[in-house]
């Protein structure tokens, strides 16, 4: 047991080192990749606000935000897709995907604005693996396309 987990840890570190600084497809540790970015769009990561660009990878605990004319589309490692429209904030709370077994979890929070989503392999493999939260509600997803708007009433 001990030696096996050691091997796994060494393999994970080797993989992380091997993928540093490359533009390879999303691998362990990455949740997905930005495929569409228009207008003002940012990735908030570890307190820093970076401009979101096509080809940027996103990971667990990133927050994606847009301005008045911004929009961002992301394809995740399980082939699910999420996009947000103008004046929106989406947090990637947790994303884990085993590409062999298709097990894992996708948990995101739309804090404000609009979201379009198409579920992927995670939701197909196990209903409940994909969740989207808003400040008022939680959505469990079973293989579908859906839309959310969340905001405080005017």
């Amino acid at each position: 047991m001990v030696s096996r987990s050691w091997t796994a840890a060494v393999a994970a570190i080797a993989l992380a080192l091997a993928t540093l600084g490359t533009t390879a497809p999303v691998l362990a540790g990455d949740a997905g990749m930005i495929k569409v970015a228009t207008g003002e769009a940012w990735i908030v990561r570890a307190g820093a606000r970076l401009p979101a660009r096509v080809g940027d990878k996103v990971q667990t605990s990133d927050v994606i935000a847009t301005g008045a004319k911004g929009a961002v589309g992301i394809t995740f490692a399980d082939d699910s897709r999420l996009s947000i429209g103008p004046n929106s904030v989406l947090a990637i709370d947790r994303f884990v995907f085993d590409s062999t077994t298709h097990a894992g979890a996708s948990e995101t929070s739309l804090r404000k604005g609009t979201l379009a989503a198409v579920s992927g392999r995670l939701a197909r493999q196990s209903p409940g693996a994909m969740k989207v939260k808003t400040p008022a509600a939680t959505l469990g997803v079973r293989g579908t396309e859906f839309l959310i708007r969340t905001g405080e009433a005017d």
Binding site: K35, V54, T100, T114, L139, G140, R142, G143
Partner: protein, 215 residues
Amino acid sequence: MISHHATRGLLLLFAGALLAGCAARPVVMAPPPPVVSPRDDLFVVLPGPDGKAGAVTVTHGGERLVLDQPYAGARIRERGRLEAARVPESEVRDVFGETLGALPPRPVSFTVFFEFSRDELTAESRDAFREISAEIARRPAVEIIVIGHTDRVGPLEHNDALSLQRAARVRRSLVEAGVAADRIEIAGRGEREPLVPTGDEVPEPRNRRVEITVR
């Protein structure tokens, strides 16, 4: 010259007129500040590519709604209750048009087939490469995931190695077709995931394949 008195009278008259104007319309009193901020939330399920909808369960406090029909929706409004709603397509376009416009293209998968026990593509599969290359060229920040498989002839370890060789062979072909090598990830699954389940040691051409996902 208008005296102070007269000015005051005019002002009173003006204020009276204003009040009279207000009285003609219903008077709206400001509501007391709510305990939680009033919400205006909307949830809608769309039809998939086959025209059918999957299902989304919306949970809000102790309330729960299952949305499993195209354009079935739910709202949470000021009063904070979860209400079922059928959402017209026109409202979907108005509210979500820009958001839907930013959805990345759907990932597509191709399967190419190999000659028995080798990493040579069949003739038909070589032709499929033109189509695959075109799909790759069309996509922004494209990722290509190449997964090799074998049939169940031969030992497991041999098939693990062969499936990886086949994936590597596909990567080589894609790179020769102009695809950047660092966009391609390869893996071999050996004989574990047959397209057509068979007994051990059964030759099955449809299992000697590589799946290429472009996203």
